[in-house]
């Protein structure tokens, strides 16, 4: 049946009614979850991921501590009901370990680990529903969770999947599309334009790669606006709750100013 669905029809529509460069509906929820220091729930279309961040805190295992920086520990859990086929994946599952290590290596250069020597930052990723672009959702959710935990980051990390159908590039693929077209996931730091992650598991023609890569980087910047707005809104809510900020819209302004300051500092760097 799957093969019966046209990836991109003659009218330029994809199977879910989007056009080539349209991303799916995204939603961010930064409200705290249980005892986590920071958490974020992100959904891209029907893909849904929750990330909780604990720390920086003392490592449970002494041998895992590193003397000059914090150790990042990523654990991924895929809910058995998340994918089409019900399947329980153990912790030792190679696929899941790989996933965790991809997320870890994506964030290692972004988190300012040297500020927290001999400590550990735990990132727990829960994949609740999969409909393509699981990795991008995990990366985006981790960024937001780290931010909400107050862990200093050099920049946002925004990930998008890009694919190519024949010669037409597509962005933000669903499971259906991922099964059919070669695709690449790119995580970009929008302010500097640096890329911390490029991964693909399918073959992609080298001539097409650059086009899609650039497109994914652009899309990362679009995502960044959304994510920054979400962080700003959350901060506004918190600030209002504390009551320390002036009333009304100025709370948002305040947070925005700080953001600008941070921008400048990074530019100096």
């Amino acid at each position: 049946m799957a093969s019966r669905i046209e990836i991109l029809n003659d009218g330029g529509f994809r199977s879910d009614g989007r056009k080539q460069y349209e991303l799916r509906d995204i939603s961010f929820d930064l409200s705290p979850q249980s005892s986590a220091d920071g958490s974020a729930s992100v959904s891209h279309g029907l893909t849904q991921v929750v990330v909780s961040v604990f720390g920086p805190r003392e490592a449970k295992m002494r041998r895992e501590t590193i003397h000059d920086r914090a150790n990042i520990n990523v654990e991924v859990n895929v809910a058995p009901f998340s994918a089409g086929e019900r399947r329980r994946r153990g912790r030792g599952d190679k696929r899941i370990l790989e996933f965790g290590s991809i997320i870890k290596s994506t964030f290692e250069p972004v988190i300012q680990t040297s500020l927290y020597p001999r400590s550990q930052i735990d990132i727990y990723v829960q994949i609740l529903q999969q409909d393509g672009g699981v990795l991008q959702a995990c990366v985006n959710a981790t960024t937001l969770a780290l931010a909400s935990a107050g862990i200093p980051l050099l920049d946002f990390v925004c990930a998008v999947t890009g694919g190519v159908h024949s010669t037409s590039p597509l962005l933000d693929l669903t499971t259906l599309e991922e099964n059919d077209v070669p695709h690449v996931t790119v995580a970009v730091m929008p302010r500097t334009g640096k890329v911390t992650l490029v991964t693909m598991e399918t073959r992609l023609h080298v001539d097409r790669f650059e086009e899609i890569f650039r497109l994914a980087c652009e899309a990362g910047k679009v995502l960044h606006k959304e994510m920054r707005a979400a962080v700003r809104e959350r901060t506004g809510v918190l600030v209002a709750a504390i009551g320390a900020a002036p009333r009304g819209t100025s709370a948002g302004m305040d947070a925005g100013d700080r953001d600008v300051v941070m921008d400048e500092r990074i530019d100096d760097y």
Binding site: R18, L23, L46, D131, H165
Partner: protein, 990 residues
């Protein structure tokens, strides 16, 4: 940079935009399916100057006002069933109202039939049509969801109606005209229920027939209309439950008991190459093969399977169909994925029924054959088949697509059904030859299911064609392994016959014949020379003649790896540009090959013959010879004919020739048949490029017959000897007399067309009557009759003398009571066995115990027989391939059609089978238009109204001129020889 946006989906309309459901797969797994849909307002309606959409438009804003029923202008919005059943109408260039094609309709067509979908897509792009595809499922106003208890079909109908009403309300927005003068959107559907509902909603609806009747070109268009019975409701079927298409097989025990008791019959299933709905099974109980008509009766048997057949009551017996039914053309609209989900498509069944239409009254009862059905499979003989992927069955042909698709693989052999397989690399495999094996054929599936094994390479590339040929005929072609090569003499190329001494094992019990003037005569370029001859006058007036055969059994010892490999290969296979050896080439082309001027081991048969070629005495001995010359047939012929040559070699050839003439005369007198088979020779450009340059018929010279006669004589003498010594296990060859019934058809044709009779009472009588079949105007006619007679005969086979009764030993074609193969041990394994038995019978070496065992000999000979048959077919197929290439080259060179003379050898209801002498190929001329066919007189008549001239009647044996083209099949990319008549009538448009 392009505009990247995030498509927001409001949480409130989640009901319309999100779908989560569970479905159960065929295997019983439950799978969760998640789908979402983004509804938008920017899907353009396609009407020119539409203010609301601002999109591109191609439909005129006023619609079409030529139709009398809708004089204010109208647009047509067809339902799915219109495209499914009236595609021809939609494609007609007389039918071009502005048409709105809904996405719902497009998707439904796609699900129902991919070929139709592809036609529809091409139609939507055509310049002379005004078709706009409206993506109604993505437009927020027209998107709908399936309601509780609603069938998918009803949902689609509702969607179509909703889109119609939206369009109707959308139209006025761009214009100011009053509602009464508004153009209408007309829902075109043959589904009466849908029409009724549409009218209830205040929409304009019409059936196709009524709509067409109102058009100005109605008369022409009504012909195109498929008659679905006026306004008969043909609701688009929902997915039907999977029902069994075939009856289940009986349990194995029942089948075996049935065969044993004689109620069922066991035999090999032979598919019919001309008619895929027919097959036959040869069984001992009937003189004629049992006919299996139709898919259900063939019941999933594949060519080569051993099946159990139940024979129907005699009143139901039928005659074989006289029509060519091509699987590809009949089933071209069949869908690879469809048959998995929906069972039988009715259209297909209808077509097959039509194809099987029987006109039993017209057929004489003598033509009727026992008819039955397959009730069980005793043994499947499935193997890997060389196939092409059928392009039309692909849902996407984009090379980047990685999606899994179900596609059809069409086997190269016409005897096999299409195979369904699932693959992720279908687009890459197009235009390639691939290997596919059948996995299973469930009773619920119309086609067998298989899987992809590997790709052989581009179709029509020589390597791929060659390999596919070898695979198709099951020829083992891998290089010899190390264990086999280890059996070769350690000296390798440097091996020579050691100097004569009592101590040398090579010289034990060997005669020294190095002094004789021995020569070999072979075709040009022959490397594996396995026979040489000599003759000399004896003082007593008699003649000594000798045949010396390469002593292969000296090198190939019983029961070692090389021997087992040779037994498994059975024979050397000759393709046009390649030879697949039975023995490693060191032996075949060097150590065993009786090359000139080197000493070689041989096995000699030496006769003392009277000047009248009567055998006075014969003896067999192992020997050492040194051939004095290696001639080609032509060289030997020239030498013999040159009166100035008086050397010993020439004398020897002349002596042999004079004896051969007498031997041949004696053989003919005994009733040997002079048969003919179409043999052509391919001239290759050079050994490197192997591009065929020309095709030429093989010429036979006197010297061919010289060698042949002595080889026959040697074989017969050896056969007598080993049969005497080993009455239980001698390796012999026989040719059973053909059953008379085989000739009935040919006799009848000859009698009716030419007034000639064929006496088949014995081989002698047959030979005599064949000699009389002469058409003075047409010298090739005799050869044609001989070729056709040859086809009526059985094929010769090896057998073990202990396994059949003594009176069936005879060789029908050669008219000798006993025969074996002894003279080509380099290329035939049976000869190696005969060598061993002969060596044992002259007490040269003890016989290996395996050759004392009847069952072992039988087993080996079974393999050899099969390989022999396959090798012949492979060789023929290779020639055919090269003839095809040569034709193609010729067509390009001559820039146009290749025309050749051909003879009609068979007539069908809708075609002719012709034989092109010059190229040695057979071809089918098909007529698409109705022609008159006279079964009894074997003629077809092409009526005058088709050609514009007078009626042209063509009968079997008539000489016609055909155009020969190499046509690439659109779907499978395989080159096909396509023939059309050029004379007496041009049939290109028929």
């Amino acid at each position: 940079m392009v505009d990247i946006t995030i498509k927001k989906r409001s949480q409130t309309d989640a009901v319309v935009t999100q779908r989560k459901f569970f479905k159960k797969t065929a295997r019983g797994k439950v799978i969760k399916v998640l789908r979402e849909r983004y509804l938008r307002d920017d899907v353009p309606c396609g009407i020119q100057d539409c203010q609301a959409c601002q999109g591109p438009g191609m439909l005129p804003s006023a619609g079409e006002s030529a139709h009398p029923s809708f004089s204010t202008g109208h647009f047509v919005l067809p339902d799915t069933n219109v495209f499914l059943s009236q595609m021809d109408l939609m494609e007609s260039n007389l039918f071009s109202p502005p048409t709105i094609l809904l996405q719902t309709v497009l998707d439904e067509v796609r699900h129902r039939s991919l070929p139709l979908y592809n036609r529809l897509k091409a139609l939507a792009k055509a310049d002379d049509k005004r078709i706009w595809i409206f993506y109604n499922e993505y437009r927020s106003e027209t998107a709908i969801i399936r309601e509780e208890g609603e069938t998918p079909n009803d949902r689609n109908d509702r969607g179509i109606r909703k889109a119609t009403s939206w369009y109707q309300s959308h139209l006025p927005r761009g214009r100011s005209a009053s509602p009464s003068h508004q153009p209408k959107v007309v829902l075109l559907t043959d589904d009466a229920a849908n029409r009724r509902k549409a009218e209830a909603e205040g929409l304009a609806a019409s059936s196709v027939r009524r709509y067409v009747e109102g058009m100005k070109d109605a008369t022409q268009l009504l012909d195109v209309l498929v008659s679905v019975g006026d306004d008969a409701i043909e609701p688009t079927r929902a997915v039907a439950a999977r029902s069994a298409l075939y009856s289940e097989y009986l349990p194995t025990a029942t089948v075996l008991a049935g065969v044993k008791s004689g109620q069922l019959h066991q035999g090999h299933f032979n598919a019919n190459a001309y008619n895929y709905l027919e097959g036959s099974v040869n069984v001992p109980a009937f003189a004629k093969p049992i006919l299996l008509v139709g898919r259900e009766n063939m019941n999933r048997a594949v060519n080569g399977d051993v099946v159990a057949v139940e024979v129907f009551d005699e009143t139901e017996w039928k005659a074989p169909a006289d029509e060519v039914i091509d699987q590809e053309s009949t089933l071209k609209n069949d869908d690879a994925e469809d048959s998995e989900e929906e069972g039988e498509g009715e259209e297909v069944l209808g077509q097959e029924k039509k194809a099987l239409r029987s006109d039993e009254k017209a057929r004489p009862p003598s033509e009727k054959q026992p008819t039955g059905r397959v009730v069980g499979i005793i043994k499947r003989n499935w193997r890997a088949y060389v196939c092409h992927i059928d392009t039309a069955s692909l849902s996407t042909t984009l090379p980047t697509s990685l999606s899994q698709q179900t596609v059809f693989a069409t086997p190269v052999s016409r005897l096999l059904p299409r195979i369904r397989l699932r693959t992720r690399q279908a687009p890459q495999l197009l235009a390639q030859k691939i290997l596919v094996t059948i996995d299973r054929w469930p009773a619920t599936a119309r086609y067998p299911e298989g899987h992809f094994v590997r790709a052989l390479g581009r179709a029509e590339s020589k390597d791929a064609e060659q390999e596919s040929l070898l695979l198709e005929f099951d020829v083992p072609y891998r290089p010899f392994g190390r264990a086999i090569l280890a059996c070769l003499p350690v000296e390798g190329e440097g091996w020579v016959v050691p100097p004569k001494s009592a101590a040398a094992p090579e010289w034990r019990d060997r005669e020294d014949l190095r002094g004789l003037t021995i020569c070999s005569i072979d075709p040009p370029g022959c490397q594996d020379i396995d026979d040489a001859l000599h003759a000399r006058q004896l003082p007593n007036g008699n003649i000594e003649a000798g045949v010396h055969i390469a002593d292969v059994s000296h090198f190939v010892l019983p029961d070692n790896p090389m021997d087992s490999e040779a037994a498994a290969r059975g024979t050397t296979v000759y393709l046009v540009d390649k030879r697949i050896d039975m023995l490693p080439s060191l032996l075949g082309t060097n150590l065993c090959s009786l090359r000139p001027h080197v000493e070689r081991l041989a096995f000699s048969v030496i006769w003392e013959l009277s000047p009248d070629a009567e055998i006075v005495n014969v003896r067999f001995t192992k020997s050492v010879i040194a051939s004095k010359a290696a001639f080609t047939y032509d060289e030997a012929q020239l030498r013999k004919d040159d009166v100035h040559m008086r050397d010993e070699l020439t004398q020897s050839i002349r002596l042999l020739n004079s004896l051969a003439i007498k031997l041949k005369a004696g053989r003919m007198a005994a009733g040997a048949l002079n048969l003919a088979s179409p043999e052509v020779k391919i001239h290759l450009d050079s050994s490197e490029s192997s591009d065929p340059i020309e095709v030429e018929q093989k010429e036979l010279r006197e010297t061919n017959s010289l060698v042949e006669e002595f080889m026959l004589l040697a074989n017969i003498s050896v056969a007598k000897k080993i049969q005497d010594t080993f009455p239980q296990t001698a390796v012999l060859r026989r040719h059973l007399p053909p059953p008379r019934t085989n000739f009935e058809k040919l006799q009848d044709i000859l009698k009716k067309r030419k007034g000639m009779t064929l006496d088949v009472s014995s081989s002698g009588a047959l030979a005599a009557s064949l000699d009389k079949c002469i058409d003075p105007k047409e010298p090739a006619f005799n050869t044609l009759v001989r070729i056709m007679a040859t086809r009526c005969m059985l094929s010769a086979e090896y057998f073990c003398s202990g396994s059949v009764s003594r009176d069936t030993f005879g060789h029908y074609g050669l008219a000798t009571p006993i025969y074996t193969h002894f003279t080509s041990p380099i290329r035939r394994y049976a000869d190696v066995l005969a060598h061993r038995q002969l060596a044992a019978s002259i007490a040269h070496a003890p016989l290996h115990p395996s050759l004392h065992s009847k069952s072992h000999v039988e087993r080996v000979l079974d393999v050899v027989n099969r390989r022999h048959r396959m090798a012949q077919m492979a060789g023929r197929a290779s020639v055919e391939f090269y003839v095809g290439l040569a034709l193609k080259a010729r067509g390009e060179r001559e820039q146009g059609l290749v025309q050749e003379e051909a003879f009609v050898i068979r007539t069908f209801r809708n075609g002719l089978n012709v034989f092109v002498f010059k190229l040695g190929i057979e071809g089918l001329v098909m007529f698409k238009r109705e022609i008159k066919f006279d079964v009894d007189n074997y003629t077809v008549t092409i009526p005058a109204e088709l050609t514009g001239k007078s009626d042209a009647t063509i009968a079997v044996f008539d000489k016609v001129t055909v155009n020969i083209e190499i046509e690439k099949d659109k779907n499978t990319q395989r080159g096909k020889v396509k023939m059309t008549l050029a004379k007496p009538v041009d049939s290109r448009n028929l």
